[in-house]
């Protein structure tokens, strides 16, 4: 069994992305992929509406294979309603935050409180960059701050915080933070380092499809892990973070 906790359809190429994701599921035996729709860094309300609706349609088309994370822009005054609609009407199973605000922005707090009520995880894009850092792009310290404020929230820090050697230690002491190693980072040692720092129990498998898949799968296969530990990363930990 394999659960990909972090994948996307991109506004503008949605149909193409959907068919590539389904093809990847078939070719690589992926059991379930959790999708959020994204496009611009600072989306307006219509864009958010459109992206979540497209994810909903994808879930309806492929209910066995596709799950959804509700994409929310905390800046919008209707963001609570967007989350409600995503979870209650579209049957999405988590909330996705990208780069419109830091994840510890006070406007995020009511959203996280609602996720605690819903008993769903929050997938937080986090990426510490040497070049090209966006103005409100979350890094490990922001995730740690949010985790400390809401110890009952289940947070997933995406991309190992971008640079694992920056992000992972930030969240080390917060047991309510899991990490995924999705995206285009394929350093040989990142996963071994992360296991040494926070243990295998807090690592979930994510890819950032349609960006990559085999890159991340290869990282697990090459890391210094037992078959049981690989199973934890491939799906068992995801079940815990999704369902509590």
């Amino acid at each position: 069994m394999l659960i990909d906790i972090h994948a996307h359809i991109w506004g503008g190429t949605i149909e193409e992305n959907k068919s590539e994701i389904i093809k990847a599921c078939e070719l690589y035996n992926i059991s379930k992929v959790y999708i959020s729709g994204i496009r611009s860094h600072y989306p307006d309300k219509d864009e958010i509406d459109y992206l979540n609706y497209e994810v909903y349609k994808f879930i309806k088309e492929q209910p066995e294979r596709i799950g959804g994370f509700c994409y929310v822009n905390p800046v919008h005054d209707n963001c609570m309603d967007v989350l409600r609609k995503g979870i209650e009407d579209y049957h999405m199973e988590g909330m996705k935050l990208w780069v419109a605000t830091f994840c510890n922005d006070p406007r995020v707090f009511p959203l996280v409180e609602k996720c605690i009520d819903y008993n769903i995880p929050v997938l937080v894009h986090a990426f510490k960059k040497t070049v090209g850092q966006l103005e409100y792009e979350t890094v490990g310290t922001h995730v740690a701050d949010l985790a400390s404020r809401y110890p009952e929230a289940r947070l997933i820090m995406a991309h190992l915080g971008g640079n694992a050697y920056h992000g992972v230690k930030c969240i080390k002491k917060y047991k309510n933070v899991w990490v995924d190693f999705s995206g285009s980072i394929f350093r040989r040692d990142d996963l071994d380092y992360t296991v040494e720092q926070i243990g295998v129990e807090r690592i979930v498998f994510g890819t950032d499809m349609v960006g990559s898949f085999l890159v991340n799968y290869g990282q697990v296969e090459e890391a210094n892990l037992t078959p049981e530990e690989k199973e934890m990363i491939y799906y068992k930990n995801a079940l815990k973070v999704l369902h509590g």
């Binding site: 990426f127 890159v215 990282q219």
Partner: protein, 253 residues
């Protein structure tokens, strides 16, 4: 399926702990993955003021094995041609690897011209390192990037040189695909292929697959990831064999 790794290294990396730094580590992972041998360079030589010292150490480690020595050269150093001569004589080098980003020069400078002349004369390939790490993840030091104009101009100006572009990305290949396709002796390795699903399938539609060589950039990058990209690609098995093995044998012997 037999394989050769055209881009592998042995040694230390100063910016983070590398867990698989020894030649035995490299051989082990190659054996597990059915890799016959690799074109190996010294990681230490990138950072040594006299890179040849790192290459002497590498030679002691790999001599008597099937592995091929690729000499690290900084053409800004005044005696680099002597090093190449020595490398041929002492180490039986099979190529020269450069790091313009780390050593801080452009490909159109005079020493690079001299390097290209000597490599053409000696019939040795030039391995150009486009990057060693994702630029976003560099620590302490930001190597200079090599842009499309610089690379295109270099490739157009040196038709006599066999050139292997290491850790180049899909988008960067697209930028220079016409040059790659039109030049018989310009190649790319697989180590930079990380940004797309089905990347081999997509790439082989626009670039002659005989221009693609399997390279891992191990131990910095994950070898299994790049192996899987080729192994799992929906292309003819003969294309996979060429990428993993035949292309390198045809080009480098």
């Amino acid at each position: 399926m037999k394989k050769i790794d055209v881009n592998c290294l042995v040694g230390n990396w100063p910016f983070r702990k590398i867990r698989k730094i020894t030649f035995n580590d490299l051989k082990s992972i190659h054996e597990v993955n059915n890799m016959e041998y690799g074109y190996v360079s010294s990681l230490n030589s990138i950072f040594y003021n006299d890179p040849f010292e790192g290459d002497q150490d590498l030679h002691e480690i790999i001599k008597g094995t099937p592995y091929k020595h690729v000499l690290t050269v900084n053409p800004e150093l005044p005696w680099f041609i002597d090093d190449i001569e020595e490398g041929i004589k002492l180490f039986d080098i099979k190529g020269v690897r450069i790091y313009p980003g780390y050593h801080g020069y452009t490909l159109d400078n005079q020493p690079v011209e001299r390097l290209c002349r000597i490599l053409a004369e000696k019939k040795l390939p030039l391995f150009i390192t486009i990057r060693m790490e994702d630029e976003r993840l560099n620590y302490l030091f930001q190597p200079r990037g090599i842009d499309k104009a610089e690379l295109s101009h270099f490739l157009e100006s040196h038709p006599e040189n066999t050139v292997i572009l290491l850790s180049i990305r899909y988008g960067e290949i697209m930028n220079i695909k016409d040059i790659i396709n039109s030049r018989r002796n310009v190649f790319v390795d697989t180590s930079g292929f990380k940004d797309l699903l089905f990347i081999i399938e997509k790439l082989t539609k626009v670039v002659d697959h005989r221009k693609i060589l399997y390279g891992s950039n191990h131990p910095l990058y994950c070898m299994k990831s790049t192996i899987l990209l080729v192994e799992k690609a929906e292309v003819d098995s003969s294309v996979k064999e060429d990428i993993f093995y035949n292309n390198v044998r045809n080009i480098l012997g």
